[in-house]
Amino acid sequence: MRPGSTPAACAALLRRDLTLAWRRRGDIALPVLYAVIVATLFPFALGPDPALLSRIAGGVVFVTVLLAILLSLDQLFRADIEDGSMEQLMLAPQPLALLVAMKILAHWVTAALPLIVVAPLLAGMLKLPPEVIPVLVAALLLATPLLSLMGAVLVALTAGTRRSGMLLALMLLPLCVPVVIFAAGAVAAAQEGLPWIAPIAWLGAGLALALVLAPLACAAALRIAMDT
């Protein structure tokens, strides 16, 4: 790869973000720990009734995982804006949208992928039938990048403001709702032996749309945020 070419730039940025995440492994562990704690507390709060737990398992896992991703979302662009790296990214010859997409990919790999790995474990703890777990993982594989992409747009929009966490949570809520409905709907349908492909397809369609539009929107929003 020739340095300065688009693949080299993407690789360099991806490697940088993954290295940074690896140097701060504790920050990756936090959302996973949070998800494990929340999912563990549910049986204590609701009582160890296997029928009840298996009915709510899908929903609990989704809500837990999505909230855990929100924990780290706020930090997506902040460090880069504060230390001047964002200026360097903006002046780079590559399109900013592409570079932002790499940052979102790195965020998904470090924040969402560990959660997807532990999700079957959490579902097992909540007595989700084993044959439904592949559907759960498939739904998570589509729902988490969708959430990362939509969240990134909002993070970029609030990047210029201080203490954006509260605003971000408020703005993200309505966007989370359809994702949770379709993802949990797929798992619920699979649990009852109904066809579950339709909600998964909806998630896939949403993801395809977000993959194209979200980085462009992010780049535009970041330019506005830096224009102060």
Partner: protein, 223 residues
Amino acid sequence: MDIRTAARNNRRMTAAIEPPILLEARALGFLRQDEPVFGPLDFALRAGEIALVEGDNGSGKTTLMRVLTGMLRPGEGEVRLDGATFSLDTMAGMVVFLGHHLGLKFDLSPRENLAVSAGLYGLREGADAGSALAEVGLAGFEDEPVRRLSAGQKKRAALARLLLVPARIWLLDEPYANLDREGIALVNRLLERHTARGGAALVTSHGAVSFAGGEPRRIRLHA
């Protein structure tokens, strides 16, 4: 030969002698809440030239830099880059900017930071990270996390980026800040070599700066 042809020939000759204009500002001004921050400014930066932007604190030096990088939209006037009206597409990789925020990742080593810059901006012919770091006096610190370097060393790590990337126009906002006497000499040396290669640089400073290669052009901003 009538007078008009002579004049045209004459103009063509001066055009051949004068190096090309890399960066040009025409009636450039910036307004913040309808209050002018600076300008209107007119200047042209030719290949092989250094221009020094002078002004007191708050006179708009950094704002001018941010306008020239395209991060701020100019309120009035225009910036032309290599003859073309300025836009973020035309500037692709032509400009390298060093500002108050150095753009270094503190958890990475200088070498890793340079690898990111090279990946994004490309690599100048014959340049490599090791010799660039040795050049700025960071030999022996290549693999130390930037966090552990002193403020001056961090600045030097950021300066190494200038040596590595092929951009022809350097926009340096206060490059002398935090540097010792030797570091100031280093910046001057880098600038001199850059202009000798046909590059151009716009440097802001509020201190007295002496270039070995003659007096730089001065652009004065008033507070």
